[in-house]
Subunit: 143 residues, 2 copies
DNA sequence: GAGATGCGGTAACGAAATGAGACCATATCT
DNA sequence: AGATATGGTCTCATTTCGTTACCGCATCTC
């Protein structure tokens, strides 16, 4: 029943709003999955690594190359936390030098589904965001 | 055609994999919407603020209370960047003391849809994540 | 056989982001 | 007069991040 923006987004807004209230009452810090999960999703490299692994397992150095400007340090760190959360599986083959590969677990694959939606949104609306950004910056500069 | 985990996630994995390859060829840093968008989505507070505003506009201090343990500093900062990206609209009413409220724009509401999917995933799989986490930690401790 | 290269990382250090808290002007309530 | 609320900003300590150097080992090149 809110008046302002009712595309087809009203339902989602309502749903999310209810979730928020529920977390709020539940104590928030304790059992809020969003904090727990989004902190990881949102740490700048996780999503990129997950998408890089979407189709096939990759070795450490392949990831290092493919993801682009990530440092080994952050790659190691991010992979560890993804592994810890059960999204990624690390396999060592006892060759010399050791070969290590990383692959998505079922849990890891399953998160790609909602992520696809988000990526789709990002691509669809990227222009709108950039437009808004420019407008904002010019307005700020004018002042 | 990958063998390992084929729930219903195969399609998403394939799609995401293709996207990744496309970004990769396109140069990555330049026109990668994910970097651009996910950096914002994933900054620990943005999603929380967006969900807090899902149903109704709120004032600065209401947000400060509702979101919980966010500092005013980060609240201001996050709101500014959401505003800059056109997700949130800031309105000042010339009262004394000034009243300011924040509301989602159409763009802001539209992102709730993919976010809902992600939140749903987080809640559905939260137990799996925590289980994996405990297993990992115990194994690490045993070593 | 000497040096460079690739492997999968770790250690150390400076830079950047973040969090906690004090502070501000104004106005109202007690 | 003093406390409280409003919407922030400023400062400073802690945390996190990114860069670079380095490790042992094996293979490839000269």
């Amino acid at each position: 029943m809110t008046r302002e923006h009712e595309g087809n987004h009203a339902a989602a807004s309502e749903t999310v709003g209810e979730h928020f209230d529920a977390w709020h009452e539940a104590g928030f810090a304790e059992n809020c999955p969003v904090r727990d999960v989004l902190d990881r999703i949102g740490d700048k490299w996780s999503v990129l690594i997950l998408t890089a692994l979407a189709r096939e397992p990759k070795r450490f150095s392949a990831l290092n190359r493919d993801v682009g400007d990530i440092s080994k340090r952050m790659l190691t760190q991010t992979l560890r936390s993804l592994q810890r959360d059960g999204l990624v599986e690390r396999t060592v083959y006892p060759t010399t030098p050791p070969t290590v590969d990383y692959r998505l677990t079922e849990l890891g694959h399953s998160v790609l589904e909602p992520l696809t939606a988000l990526i789709g949104w990002a691509e669809a609306r990227h222009d709108d965001i950039r437009t808004a950004r420019h407008a904002f910056d010019e307005e700020a500069e004018a002042a």
